[in-house]
């Protein structure tokens, strides 16, 4: 070959508000080459792809550093539409399909074949009529190119999920200019047979000269279809090697193995709490949380422990606390301290002394337009009648502002919340401090069981340590049982006693926090 590569990324850097997420990424891709991109969540895979695809979010957060060269020419996409015009196609994890349209209509969405009509000359070309016959042949061509047969007249909402995925891929293939296709976890929703068919079609595309970047957690697939495996970790490319020279165990090691710095980290290496009482028991739980579906989960939480729930994004770990707390539709049995807790009823959970720190800080966690005082005291006031003064035997209740101020002050000091005063509005704080307010809010409830979901998402290192320490302290001093969900394995290992790994909506296994990384890696990839 010897000619210019199709795509070259040079020294790509990206930070979100000072938080470095990509550093010095160099990547080349030749015509017809298939690259497998692997890495844990937060390794920077999706950010890198967003940069390549010209996503709005990148520009809104200050752009990126480095150059992208397409066919040897420097490009900079102002929007995904420019990227599409330049021949880049992307199949996202979430479907982007119109439910009531047929496969054909979706494949050619906004690129329909048209016939001129009288009115289109006078008014605009939107008055052209659709040429259904030509659309059918074009869609048929794209489906043929893909090599997997789907019914092009079937409506999307009647299709099995795998066919939806294929419709998306056919849509990209129907674009004539397509030179590079990015597939973001396309096999996650496919059955084994369908996945095999997709791999076959990737091979076909590659023969036809279309380059593919294939992101997946199923490492076996990468090895069978890719020319090259690129492993990312913590915003760096840690390894790049030909697929035929490596194996699953090696890749797993590159993915999770991180430079362990400082021996002061104390892991709980043994399962020490076998004799402890089970306080929360979850049986046959299912949760219908979009993107985080939970299927058939059985889980026991012991009194006084910190139980971690880990796993890759989209595997269902977030669904567990959200389902138990009644925020998403759920079914199954949850027993706490011998009492059955009804599902789909958040109030009952709160009354049973559960508390929940949501991963959706701004949406569920905080009253953004209210003061810190209100944020900290609100749930306790609502649920437990705390910080209220009763008159006439409880007929009239007044807010006890002094008590509210006092408790807020206490938590501001304890958690080192940076704010101008306890009456500052929650939305004016930084992410890390907002997270601390969320914790304070949960602490003020003095729960018996605390669910913490992604407590360190999007906050800086200093705040991270503080949040984790606060959780540990709360657990130790008050004896509160904590269930902590996080995508960052390292942080779970440092904080928890045991870690349950969720994969494919199920609990794949429970390990002591100090278990070696490879074991965790195996479990994470078990069902996905």
């Amino acid at each position: 070959m010897g000619s210019v590569p199709l795509l070259e990324m040079r020294n790509i850097k990206k930070d979100f508000f000072g938080n470095q997420v990509l550093s010095d990424i160099n990547l080349t891709l030749n015509e017809g080459e298939v690259i497998g991109l692997v890495g844990e969540n937060g390794a920077g895979k999706s950010t890198l792809m967003k940069i390549l695809f010209g996503a709005d979010v990148i520009r809104e957060t200050g752009g990126y550093g480095g150059d992208i060269l397409l066919n040897g020419e420097k490009v900079s996409f102002a929007s995904p539409f420019d990227a599409i015009a330049a021949g880049i196609g992307m199949v996202h994890q979430e479907f982007s399909l119109i439910p009531g349209f047929s496969a054909t209509e979706n494949i050619l969405l906004n690129r329909e074949s048209k016939r001129k009509s009288v009115l289109s000359e006078i008014i605009s070309d939107r008055m052209d009529t659709l040429n259904r016959k030509e659309m059918d042949t074009r869609a048929q061509d794209a489906i043929k190119k893909m090599g997997v047969n789907i019914d092009q007249d079937m409506r999307i909402n009647n299709m099995p999920v795998g066919h939806k995925q294929f419709t998306e891929i056919a849509r990209e293939l129907s674009k004539k200019q397509l030179k590079l296709l990015i597939l973001d976890e396309p096999t996650a929703v496919l059955t084994e047979k369908e996945a095999e068919a997709l791999l076959e079609s990737i091979r076909g595309m590659s023969k036809r000269g279309i380059a593919v970047i294939f992101i997946t957690h199923r490492l076996g697939e990468i090895l069978s279809v890719c020319d090259k495996v690129v492993t990312m970790r913590d915003g760096y490319i840690v390894n790049e090697s030909p697929a035929k020279d490596t194996n699953v165990a090696e890749i797993t090691h590159w993915m999770v193995g991180r430079s362990v710095d400082g021996a002061d980290v104390n892991y709980v290496t043994e399962d020490t709490g076998k004799d402890k009482r089970t306080i929360l028991s979850i049986r046959k739980l299912w949760v219908d949380m979009p993107g985080e579906t939970v299927r058939n989960v059985n889980l026991d939480v012991r009194e006084g422990e910190i139980l971690g729930i880990g796993g890759l994004a989209g595997q269902g770990k977030l669904g567990i606390p959200n389902g138990v707390m009644g925020l998403y539709q759920a079914g199954g049995q949850v027993t706490f301290d011998g009492e059955e807790i009804p599902l789909n009823d958040p109030r009952k959970c709160l009354d049973s002394n559960f508390a929940f720190v949501s991963e959706d800080r701004r949406g569920v966690g905080l009253l953004l337009d209210e003061s810190l005082e209100w944020n900290v005291s609100f749930p306790a006031m609502q649920v437990q009648n705390k910080y209220l003064k009763s008159f006439f035997g409880g007929l009239i209740k007044w807010r006890d502002d002094a008590a509210i101020k006092e408790v807020t002050k206490k938590y501001i000091d304890e958690l080192k919340i940076k704010c101008t005063s306890s009456t500052q509005k929650a939305k004016e704080l930084s992410g890390g401090n907002q997270q601390k307010v969320c914790l304070a809010k949960a602490f003020a409830l003095e729960p018996k069981l605390l669910f913490v979901s992604e407590p360190t998402r999007g906050i800086d290192v200093g705040a991270k340590a503080l949040v984790l320490d606060a959780l540990k302290k709360f657990n130790k001093e008050k004896g509160v049982t904590i269930v902590m969900v996080s995508s960052e394995l390292e942080e779970l290992r440092q904080t928890c006693d045991r870690i349950a790994v969720v994969s494919g909506g199920k609990v794949a296994g429970i390990l002591p926090a100090g278990e070696c990384l490879e074991r965790f890696g195996e479990l994470m990839l078990q069902n996905c």
Binding site: M127, W286, G331
Partner: protein
């Protein structure tokens, strides 16, 4: 499986079925002759069809029932008032009134579309309130500006005080001119051929419109705005166009409606028209997100049969003619409420179905 489908269909068409029952029960009680009934229904078909058809396009674009079709009706009335004052009679007068109404409706539709783009997901309540707001402006124009600002000459139209328009404006010069343009009557039933031809043309336009690129875009926007936007469709513009078209058609429809009535109730003609049209469409089996031309005609037949027979039946049974009048207003609001509630419960039902499926899968896996 088959049984499930039957109950599904029953639920889907519960409103039309209910109305068929009401009509079947009330018709014999009312004692009205079949030929009188047929005459009335045909007349009302010509009178209302165009107006109701104007509701179809916003439903296609996912904007729900267009309560602000009243805006178009007001524009139509303004056109007719002016034409009356200028003493242009008959069909030319109607055409001129339509020409005047179109830019006014288009502007109002544009305004409404822009507002609704700011209130995505709450289109129906917003359009309902907009219709009240614009009604205020309409009254300002008709009550105070017509006379001093917009010249009104004829004392039959002007209020005695010198400005403003009278409560009723007679349209004697245009009364049923369109309906009687091509006279035809079959078995004693008078058929407004010319009106039907226009309605038929509009139906053709709507059928054709669905096949255009713009129609396809509207359907895409109606089903999923985000996906349509990602595919490069200009969502906001598409929604505005659908509102403009609907309002313009409503204006023309109002002129056809009023030529049949023969007079304008200046301050009230438009106010209930939206409600009755929407109720008729829903009675025809349409829902907030799905409506067809068939729903329009079935709706007119059922709703207006009920309109004609229920008051008579009420009078026969209770001896009080007011009860029927009460009944028709009550029923049209009830129909709209039922349709809206059903839409929401269906949406929720579909959502919980996903959960049930999960539970079932799990059971299967456990066995």
């Amino acid at each position: 499986m088959n049984k499930y489908n039957v109950s599904d269909i029953l639920r889907r068409f519960s409103v039309p079925i209910m109305f068929v029952l009401i009509c079947v029960i009330c018709a014999p009680i009312s004692g009205l002759s079949p030929s009188y009934l047929a005459n009335e229904i045909v007349t009302r078909m010509g009178r209302n069809a165009f107006l109701i058809l104007s509701l179809l396009i916003p439903i296609m674009a996912g904007m729900g029932l267009n309560f602000s079709m009243t805006l178009g009706a007001m524009a139509g009335e303004i056109g007719l008032i002016l034409v009356c004052d200028w003493q242009i009679i008959g069909i030319p007068g109607m055409i001129l009134a339509m020409i005047i109404s179109i830019p006014i409706s288009a502007l109002l539709g544009l305004f409404c579309g822009k507002v609704l783009n700011m209130a995505k997901g709450r289109e129906m309540i917003t359009s309902y309130i907009i219709s009240f707001f614009i009604n205020g402006i309409y009254q300002l124009v008709v009550l105070y500006l017509m006379g001093p600002v917009i010249p009104i000459k004829h004392s039959t139209i002007k209020l005695p005080r010198g400005y403003g328009v009278r409560n009723t404006v007679s349209l004697l010069s245009m009364r049923q001119k369109l309906d009687n343009l091509i006279p035809l009557s079959i078995a004693g039933v008078k058929i407004p051929v010319a009106t039907f031809i226009i309605v038929f043309l509009l139906c053709l336009v709507i059928v054709w419109f669905r096949k255009t690129k713009l129609g396809q875009d509207m359907r895409a926007v109606g089903q999923d705005m985000e996906v349509a936007k990602d595919a490069g469709i200009n969502v906001e513009r598409t929604r505005i166009i659908s509102m403009v078209l609907s309002t313009v058609f409503a204006g023309v429809g109002m002129i056809i409606y009023l030529q049949n009535m023969g007079n304008i109730a200046t301050y009230s003609s438009h106010s209930q028209i939206g409600m009755f049209c929407i109720a008729a469409l829903l009675v025809g089996g349409a829902s907030v997100d799905k409506a067809s031309i068939g729903n329009v005609f079935l709706g007119i037949v059922l709703f207006h049969t009920m309109f004609i027979v229920a008051p008579k039946a009420g009078t026969v049974i209770t001896g009080d003619s007011m009860i029927g009048e009460y009944f028709r207003v009550f029923v049209s609001y009830a129909v709209i409420t039922v349709a809206l509630v059903m839409y929401e419960t269906n949406k929720r039902k579909n959502k919980s179905k996903a959960g049930e499926q999960l539970a079932l899968d799990q059971e299967a896996a456990n066995e």
